[in-house]
């Protein structure tokens, strides 16, 4: 593995740019009508799902930690549009959106949140720990930064098997200060592993702002010491995410090794349900919602281009609400795991 890259550098991607770490973000691709509608529907599903999860948490159906993805929907939605069959995804604990983007069943995710037997982990994982080998979703990890090494390992397996797949390894601006992230960067670059490090910079590591925690706040530069190029992306614009995702996947599939995408995004809710979010002003949150909301941006374009009218969008909203209501209904009424489950799945 320690030998040089097997494949020639991509022609369409500037391979020399690996030398300078800051790459210009590609111009956001114009979406077709179908792409806009798909993005709208997928982001809306995440939004409505998370709103419902917050509601169920308040009602006591969901316990423990529950980290909502509201505001960041464009990131996983745009990246998913850049994937091919077999590409893997792994993330930390703000993970419901990633699961829905990877087409894990809303019922299974919601029932896991409520700790029921129909949950994706049969009630044994919880909000932070869901997986699907079939959908190539590798969790769901509760230790900040740990998934970065694991995701690098997924890329190692791709390289070992010489397949064409890419590992999408997500982490936040907080995890970007963990040591093993840089251990992984080094190995990924050394061995030319096909991994896209997606740093979801939502500006706050729990309650600590990026400027209070990070000496280098331009996260796309974090690979500089390892010759890993990086792109700063408007993570509130699903088209910008998709374009960056296309460029990054092409870079990886061409055998160039890892690449970093810093997604500049924002979470509207607290770090977890129990976070009063006193570290930022209501105005700041409101401004992001009104000026940069990822779903509203798509909606405005759909209406502006007359690709959909209010009624059609309302109809999509209703379909999405039905899916979420069904998931919530299932998750509230599904049985708890059988007590015998306590003793299964410890070792094979």
């Amino acid at each position: 593995m320690a030998t040089a890259a097997k494949k020639a550098p991509a022609k369409s991607v500037k391979s020399t740019s690996a030398k300078s770490t800051g790459l210009a973000a590609p111009k956001p691709a114009e979406f077709t009508k179908d792409e806009e509608l798909a993005a709208y529907r997928h982001m809306l599903l995440i939004r409505r799902f998370e709103e419902k999860a917050g509601q169920l948490y308040g009602m006591g159906f969901i316990g423990g930690f529950c980290h909502l993805y509201i505001g960041q929907e464009a990131v996983v939605t745009g990246m998913k549009m850049a994937l091919i069959q077999g590409d893997q995804m792994i993330t930390a604990y703000r993970d419901h959106g990633h699961m829905l983007a990877m087409e894990l069943s809303p019922r299974g995710v919601m029932a896991e949140l409520t700790g029921r037997r129909g949950g994706l982990s049969r009630g044994k994982g919880g909000s932070m720990h869901m997986f699907s080998k079939e959908k190539h979703f590798y969790g769901g990890h509760g230790i900040v930064g740990a998934q970065v090494s694991l995701g690098t390992g997924l890329a190692f397996a791709n390289r070992y098997r010489d397949n064409n797949n890419v590992s999408l390894t997500y982490f936040g601006d907080g995890a970007a200060n963990q040591g093993q992230v840089y251990e992984s960067f080094n190995m990924a670059s050394l061995w030319k592993l096909p991994v896209i490090y997606i740093i979801e910079n939502n500006r706050y590591a729990m309650g600590t702002s990026v400027s209070r925690s990070s000496a280098e706040t331009n996260f796309s530069h974090r690979g500089a010491s390892f010759k890993i190029p990086g792109i700063q992306v408007d993570g509130m614009d699903v088209r910008a995410v998709k374009s960056a995702g296309d460029q990054a996947t092409e870079w990886c599939r061409a055998g160039n090794g890892p690449i970093i995408l810093e997604m500049q995004t924002y979470r509207y809710r607290g770090h977890s349900m129990s976070d009063p979010a006193k570290y930022r002003s209501k105005e700041e949150v409101q401004k992001m919602r009104s000026d940069h909301d990822p779903i509203e941006q798509v909606k405005a374009r759909l209406i502006g281009k007359k690709w959909a009218d209010e009624d059609e969008l309302k109809n999509i909203d209703k379909q999405v609400r039905d899916i979420v209501a069904d998931a919530a209904e299932f998750a509230q009424h599904d049985a708890e795991p059988d007590p015998s489950e306590l003793w299964t799945d410890i070792v094979l």
Binding site: A2, K133, I346
Partner: protein, 463 residues
């Protein structure tokens, strides 16, 4: 006065080595720093440099001599004005006082920069293992070779098996356990990592989650503390957290426990630590046969397996059955020697104390049964309890720290499951409750010893 050139010790515990080659002949002039000879151990070849200036008067130990004791005179160096005839009348030995040696058999103390002595350790007799068919041909093999053979066989058998770690490839292994693997399997499957335990442990687990079967070598398990989050939180728990969908078929292996004179940070036994964790299997072999059969089993096991080796045992030879595919069951103890008066349970290098004590006890008319656990998790308590029901007395021996030790757990389980069969309290013998000291005498005091085992047996047999 002619100067004696002595066989140098290349590590604190080296006792002898091979003098493979002289690079100077009798009559050659040498100055300090000249390479005059090469010494060979089972791990490396090292050059011997002249310390003084003069003429080689006489080569005492010819090239090709094996088993040359440390501090033996290997040549005589004549100084100005001296002739060969003077070579015989050397001064009172310029012999350096040999440092006190730990009781442990000779083996090297630090990673490969300082090589080990040549197979100084004697071949150890072991009772027949019921898992080996009677009449199987046996081949004397070191633990080191057994581990290498196990990995090579499994890598030939399954293309998804690969080994990664620090110095495993080009250097041939810090302790030469991966010797020859790079040559046979190439850099795709024998992967040198940077010094980055936390990172490569995670990369290994990720690769395992994607379906590969990594063998992750830690240069020592002391360094695996950097990686313990990935081992426990990612490798051990994922199967459970995913409701059985996804686990990590991975082996973490490397030397564990005290070596000799390597100090507090390099001398810790992690058997009890990892044995605490549901989702892990923990194997700690003593013999070369167990090392081979259990490592092969560990590589095939679909779960994360912690495979705890011991540096001091690497160079020791044992009979290994000559079978095409010798795989032993994980989770099954081995009765090392049958007996009726007392049960001594141990594992890994702890077995050396049990075995020596048993020999002495026999002379005192005490017939001890020795059980080698081989696997710490899942623990074969049935074998231990069956033995206790026969002997009614139990001693557990290990090198790790005493509190919450493996022995504590066994004592607790036996008291719950076989209380009525005990004629005496269970005695646990462990390392002392102190960080490992460096000084040779203190280190010896910190480790268990044969005398402690004998005293414990006498106590429980009321002698």
């Amino acid at each position: 006065m002619p100067i004696e050139i002595l066989m140098p010790a290349l590590s604190p515990t080296m006792e002898e080595g091979n003098l493979s080659k002289w690079l100077k002949n009798e009559g050659d002039k040498v100055v300090a720093g000249d390479v005059i000879a090469e010494i060979e151990t089972d791990k490396a070849t090292m050059e011997v440099e002249a310390v003084d200036e003069g003429t080689i008067g006489k080569i005492v130990v010819p090239a090709g001599t094996e088993g040359v004791k440390v501090n033996a005179v290997i040549a005589i160096l004549l100084q100005d004005g001296e002739s060969a005839a003077d070579a015989s009348k050397t001064a009172a030995p310029a012999k350096a006082e040999a440092p006190a040696k730990a009781e442990a058999p000779a083996e090297e103390a630090t990673p490969a920069a300082k090589p080990t002595p040549v197979a100084a350790a004697p071949k150890t007799e072991v009772a027949a293992d019921p898992d080996v068919p009677a009449g199987t041909e046996m081949v004397s093999t070191t633990v080191r070779e057994a581990l290498r053979d196990a990995m090579a066989e499994e890598m030939r058998r399954d293309g998804d098996v690969f080994v990664m770690g620090e110095e495993v490839a080009e250097y041939q292994g810090a302790y030469k356990i991966t010797q020859g693997l790079l040559q046979e399997f190439g850099p795709r499957r024998v992967v040198d990592t940077p010094i980055t335990e936390h990172g490569f442990a995670g990369v290994g687990v990720g690769a395992a989650m994607a379906g590969l079967k990594p063998i992750v070598e830690f240069m020592t398990f002391n360094f695996a503390m950097q990686a313990i989050d990935q081992i426990i939180n990612s490798a051990a728990k994922t199967l459970y957290m995913s409701g059985g969908q996804m686990g990590a078929p991975i082996v973490f292996r490397g030397p564990n426990g005290a070596a000799a004179r390597v100090g507090a940070q390099h001398s810790q036994c992690y058997a009890a630590w990892y044995s605490h964790i549901p989702g892990l299997k923990v194997v700690m072999p003593y013999t070369a046969a167990d090392a081979k059969g259990l490592l092969k089993a560990a590589i095939r096991d679909p779960n994360p397996v912690i495979f705890l080796e011991n540096e001091i045992l690497y160079g020791q030879s044992f009979d290994v059955p000559k079978l095409d595919d010798f795989v032993l069951p994980i989770g099954k103890a081995r009765i090392h020697k049958q007996g009726k008066d007392v049960t001594i349970v141990s594992f890994g290098i702890g077995m050396t104390y049990a075995i020596k004590a048993e020999a002495e006890l026999r002379g005192m008319g005490i017939d001890a049964e020795i059980i080698d656990l081989r696997t710490i998790r899942p623990l074969d308590l049935d074998t231990v309890i069956a033995s206790v029901k026969k002997t009614n007395r139990l001693i557990v021996v290990e090198e790790g720290f005493p509190q919450s030790s493996v022995g504590d757990h066994i004592a607790n389980q036996v008291s719950q499951r076989a209380f009525d069969f005990l004629d005496a309290p269970v005695i646990t013998i462990a390392g002392k409750d102190v960080p490992m000291p460096y000084a040779a005498n203190l280190e010896k005091l910190a480790l268990p010893n044969v005398g402690e085992v004998i005293e414990a047996v006498k106590a429980v047999t009321y002698r």
